[in-house]
Symmetry: C2
Subunit: 128 residues, 2 copies
DNA sequence: CAGATTCGCTACACTATGCGTAGCAATACA
DNA sequence: TGTATTGCTACGCATAGTGTAGCGAATCTG
């Protein structure tokens, strides 16, 4: 089974001609892809450390995402484990603002008292 | 069966306590979510127009994504069809830079003859 | 009014993707 | 030698996404 990795210029989800943005969205729009990049923001992590950092990710999927992300040039390996490549760090820089945005977004839920039944007490959201 | 929509403060993929950024990633990390937002960037689209714009999306999933995105406050409806809410437009503004980035990223594939996808066999492994 | 077209959306069977657990080979240290 | 940790695979099950067909409502057309 050849691994299916979204590649610009090749048919991807959202574009039969492989428009770069759609290839990127196809890649990032898979479970845990964004989370993995986020966790690698400031440090290298081993496979098991990543497993722990991404609560609940199965090793099967983690391995798949890591292969996709390395093949796409966002992630590399060294003796410390997995870490972002320069290109990956560049991508993360573009994703960073989403962190602040998400906190503003979250407030719209607490303000309107949206169904929050049975939520466990949580510290004020710490940045990654 | 209640639809499962990632909500800050509730357990989501990547955070049992529902950290906002993880809830957002859970939401955007589902197929077509990013693509739908992207397509609505500059105009309102009807359901069928969206179906056409997102080549190959099934109506089942499109409907699901639209429900999630409206419930999350990113998308609204008017007589013209679906369009981004102010909050959604704000989110899109943060995603826009990815468009340019993806173009640069795509060049790394054409430069290397599009065969970057085969990842190098082995890097030095992190010793336990 | 009858017919045709388009609309948003649902039903349903099939396939792909992800999950959870177990566990293996390799390395490191005792 | 034994124990522990590493990266990672196997496998069975559950969920998410695909593809096609088609419904009821609304809007044109004659």
């Amino acid at each position: 089974m050849p691994i299916d990795i979204p590649t610009p210029g090749q048919p991807v989800r959202g574009s039969s001609t492989g428009k770069p943005i759609m290839a990127l969205f196809d890649l990032l729009g898979r479970s845990w892809a964004l989370g993995v990049i986020w966790q690698l923001s400031d440090r290298a992590l081993t496979f098991r450390q990543l497993q722990t950092a991404c609560e609940g990710v199965s090793p099967t999927v983690l391995n798949k995402r890591l292969k996709e992300l390395t093949a796409s040039g966002f992630v590399v390996r060294n003796d410390q484990g997995y870490l972002l490549s320069p290109s990956g760090a560049q991508l993360l820089a573009l994703l960073r603002p989403l962190g602040h945005y998400s906190e503003d977004w979250a407030e719209t839920f607490t303000q309107t008292g949206e169904s929050l039944a049975g939520h466990s007490p949580d510290a004020p959201r710490p940045g990654p």
